[in-house]
């Protein structure tokens, strides 16, 4: 009998399955559970974008595109990045279209990381950076961010984590799961540490359109940072296009070109229908972004208010679509809290430690749900807190 487990690559074996996934397998089994767990917009993609996708199919645009992505799309991405965030890229050499922001993250890490190279990852954060680093042979180095710093990366913590082997800094802001953002002043302090090193910054700006009470600033706009930053962004969150699987990376042409090497052999090209739809999104859907963001903002306030009224400490998120209240006052671990809440009140939220050890003591609740749904969930969580 062959032991297939023993045949698996050491790197894959060392990769832990996502904590979110495990938890949601339980939720999926449970009827009439209310979820605040999902990390994707509840909005359907605006009709104009869907229609553009359909039209491209009618015209028979069903072939591969260039490995880089449609030239027209790259041009529109360049226009968009300049219009919204004052980022200036050359569409022909600095921008590549990928299968979601995730592929861009993976390709960027693989293009830069050799065995033993260290990747700095502020945590709590999105679950993919560390496994992607491990799969590329690198060593993930978590940097703990704290509620008292509003979950921002501080220059002191960054400096303390840098070693001669540090190759890459992940900058995941606006942040999933905390909702933290980095202001221009915060970024300047980070830039001051990075500027004269050989460290590259992977700035994951997938939530850049979803900031509340301030406009997103990209670290690539700061002096000396443009050449050493790869900006990752995409269509999933801003345009509610998660299922279209479309993102992009923009930055230093030398690095982008090497990312294209990986992309062309692993992926070939991003989905053609999605690329045509994305052109429409960039050309005519700024208003849709505004409409959805406005709605998220209402829900954000309702949720923060709700958790605070229950007596849970809740940092006010300034970006993305999550709140990250502390449940330390209950004396439970995140996992205990979430499991008990799910079984006794049928409300699903995500344990904070799924986003790194430093997320222990917190839960992530998403506000990608109608206010009605959020109200019911908050009511049940409040009941739960009274009963424990």
């Amino acid at each position: 009998m062959t032991d297939f487990e023993s045949l698996l690559s050491e790197k894959v074996k060392a990769t832990k399955p996502s904590g979110i996934r495990k938890f949601f397998d339980i939720v999926a089994e449970m009827k009439d559970a209310i979820s605040l767990g999902v990390g994707e917009p509840d909005f359907v993609t605006p009709w104009a974008i869907r229609e553009a996708g359909i039209y491209s199919l009618e015209r028979g645009n069903t072939h591969y595109t260039s490995n880089w992505g449609l030239a027209e799309l790259r041009k529109e991405i360049a226009n968009y990045l300049e219009r919204r965030f004052s980022l200036k890229y050359e569409p022909k050499t600095d921008i590549m279209v990928t299968v979601g922001g995730s592929e861009a993250i993976d390709a960027c890490i693989r293009a830069l990381i050799d065995n033993g190279d260290e990747v700095l990852i502020p945590e709590p954060s999105f679950v993919c950076y560390s496994p992607c680093t491990v799969l590329a042979g690198g060593k993930p180095v978590p940097i703990v961010t704290r509620a008292e710093d509003e979950f921002r990366l501080t220059p002191e913590a960054l400096k303390a984590a840098i070693t001669p082997k540090t190759k890459l800094l992940i900058l995941p802001y606006p942040n999933n799961p905390t909702g933290a953002v980095m202001t221009r002043e915060d970024l300047e302090k980070i830039a001051a540490v990075i500027r004269d090193t050989n460290i590259i910054v992977l700035s994951d700006e997938i939530y850049s359109e979803l900031t509340y009470g301030g406009t997103h600033v990209s670290i690539a706009t700061l002096p000396g940072m443009f050449e050493r930053t790869i900006v990752v962004n995409g269509f999933s969150k801003a345009y509610a296009m998660t299922g279209w699987r479309l993102g992009y990376a923009a930055g230093n042409p030398t690095i982008i070109k090497s990312m294209i090497k990986i992309h062309q052999f692993a992926i070939m090209s991003a989905p053609t229908t999605s690329q045509y739809a994305a052109i429409e999104a960039l050309q005519s859907c700024d208003e849709d972004i505004e409409r959805m963001k406005n709605e998220y903002n209402y829900r954000r306030r309702v949720m923060v208010d709700g958790f605070r009224k229950m007596g849970l400490e809740c940092f006010e998120p300034r970006g993305a679509f999550y709140v990250f209240p502390s449940i330390k006052s209950t004396g439970m671990t995140s996992a205990e809290f979430c499991e008990k809440l799910l079984y006794s009140k049928k409300v699903a939220v995500i344990p904070g430690d799924a986003f790194g050890e430093s997320g222990e003591g917190y839960i992530r609740a998403s506000y990608c749900y109608s206010i009605k749904n959020i109200d019911i969930a908050l009511e049940r969580i409040a009941e739960f807190l009274k009963e424990i």
Partner: protein, 164 residues
């Protein structure tokens, strides 16, 4: 500042007028008393005219007929179209009256129990009016969307379990 707040309140109520002032205050991050006084003013100024439910009557009553009538009328000296519009909209059967640009002058929407009832109203009340030149009656067969609400839509949350 206050005008801005009023506009935001109107946007929220336009979507769902069941939100309480307290909820609206939370959604906007504003003071509840400010929201209450803004709503009072909006009602006083006749900007908010009422709070009605959106109802799909087709699911409840079978004998409901809606007609859209195009009217060509002769405007009256000194009064324009307002006087004739006034004489029309005072009928309780008349649901909506719009002054139009283009091929005809007034759109009149009427709710009735039967097609005959609507036709008789047009023949007996509207057509004989002195300044009405012609009428064209169109009956509504099916409502797909009204005031931004799609009638046939069933919302399904089809988001699946995924790692993120």
């Amino acid at each position: 500042m206050k005008e801005n707040l009023k506009n935001k309140i109107l946007d929220i109520l336009n979507e769902n007028c069941q939100h309480t002032p307290a909820e609206i205050a939370t959604m906007l991050g504003a003071d509840e008393s400010l929201v209450i006084s803004a709503i009072d003013e909006l009602e006083g100024d006749k900007i908010i005219l009422g709070y009605k439910a959106m109802i799909n009557w087709e699911k409840i009553v079978s004998d409901n007929v809606i007609a859209l009538i195009e009217l060509k009328v002769t405007p009256q000296r000194g009064e324009g179209f307002d006087k004739i519009a006034d004489r029309i909209y005072k009928y309780p059967q008349v649901d909506t009256v719009y002054l139009m640009s283009g091929g005809f002058d007034l759109t009149v929407i009427i709710n009735g129990k039967t097609m005959k009832e609507v036709a008789m109203f047009v023949a007996e009340k509207l057509a004989p009016m002195e300044s009405v030149v012609s009428t064209a009656t169109h009956f509504v067969l099916k409502k797909y969307k009204e005031q931004g609400v799609i009638f046939t839509d069933e919302e399904v949350d089809d988001r699946q379990v995924i790692t993120l």
